[in-house]
Amino acid sequence: MIRFIYIFLFAILSLPLSATGTDGDAEGKINVKEIIFGHLSDAYEWHIAGDVVLHLPCIVYSGENGLKVFLSDKLEGGEEYEGYHIDSESGKIVNAAGVRPFDISITKNVLELFFVCILLCTVILLTAAWYRRNGYKKAPGGFVGMIEVVINYIDKEVAQASIGQGYERFSPYLLTVFLFILTCNLLGLIPVFPGGANLTGNIAVTLTCAITAFIAINAFAPKEYYKSIFWPNVPLALKAIPLMPTIEFIGVFTKPFSLTVRLFANIMAGHIIILSLTSIIFITWQVGPAIGAPMTAVSVAFCIFMNCLELLVAFIQAYVFTILTANFIALAQHEE
């Protein structure tokens, strides 16, 4: 048993050392901040392992330069191509003057996003196909059964339990957003290609989810909801100087804002902690093997613990986003 642990530790140790050998600067010192923020932010290429890099297509558009499509290896090492280069500070494509063009490149996160979308559509449409083929009189087993449990839970325990009457209209949206966030979260925990991108820890992704929630909450609300915002049931003095309406109106936007930040911060924090714990190994080995060896064991133990915790967080954050959205919808729908 102990031998297995040693082998495991050795395997874990040897892999990242060779992979991050190029990340250190000239003196061989490791810049932990660079590694962590390099992982958290987007990139125009995907480091798969060691020197294996997947160069992704860049798609940029600007008024004077027009639409340009090229692979990101043209820009490697700060080189200039078609008047564009990667800004060393922000890591984004800029032109010679340092102005960003309209950039819809297939970055690492976008590729991961496509992968999540294809995975999600495949899984759900295959499950739906199973039901089309077998009807409702046959009980599914295995994978379809697992998907059924999740869908049934969100449909009944979240959508129906929160919204009540008329929940059917919102159920597909809640199911989509739950499964989307869950898939992103879980794929983010897988350290090897095609997982590992920090998708739900990216504010653009969580913002989009929150905007869809905002639409779901406000676009289908009855007129009583808008009356309670702009002319609430409070003494006239509070409405004449529009104190309450202002607060209510701000409240409309704080709800999706809190959804955005909660999901983004939770997932990003998880990634930062796991990366920091992994970095402990390299920092302590630089000091010396005497401290490096025991700290490696500590780091691996903590990493395993954090990964288990993140697995839990992946579910919890997807669930929290969904149930909060469902409750906001319920509040808007049943405004008295």
Binding site: C117, L120, P172, Y173, I203
Partner: protein, 161 residues
């Protein structure tokens, strides 16, 4: 900080992808699954109800069968008792009849014996009377002649008897 400003490129792709995924799943994915789940739930509820009804029916049929059996047993008892009493009655009657028949036969036999006896006696009487008459006649006939003859005739007649 770069992490807190949403990147327009990713935002664009995210809106597009999420929109397409939502459209596909909301149109072709979830309604099918949710409807199947609902249908199955109703199917299970209906099945449970019908199973309960069938159980109740079965119980009532069982009770009916039990009652029928009980009834049959009672009938059987009644029939057996009736048959026993009937048998007793028949045996009694047969006994009585046989007795009376025996009585009658004995009486008849006695009667016929009596008649036969009477007839026999009458025959004997007649015979004796006839004989007496014959003898008397012979006696009377021979009386006219000789005394000795008379005696001889009587002797002869007696021998002839």
């Amino acid at each position: 900080m770069g992490l807190l400003t949403p990147d327009p490129g990713l935002l664009f792709w995210m809106v597009l992808s999420f929109g397409v995924v939502f459209f596909l799943l909301a149109k072709f994915g979830f309604p099918v699954i949710v409807k199947a789940l609902k249908d199955r739930q109703e199917f299970i509820a209906a099945s449970l109800l019908s199973a309960k009804q069938a159980n109740e029916k079965l119980a009532s049929i069982q009770a009916e069968g039990e009652a029928l059996l009980q009834n049959a047993r009672e009938r059987q008892q009644d029939i057996i008792a009736e048959a026993m009493s009937e048998k007793k009655k028949i045996v009694e009657a047969a006994k009585k009849e046989a007795e009376s028949e025996a009585h009658r036969i004995a009486e008849e036999a006695a009667k016929s014996i009596e008649t036969a006896k009477a007839e026999a006696l009458k025959d004997v009487h007649d015979e004796v009377a006839g004989l007496a008459l014959q003898i008397a006649e012979q006696v009377l006939r021979t009386k006219m002649e000789d005394r000795a003859e008379q005696q001889a005739a009587i002797e002869r007649m007696l021998k002839e008897l």
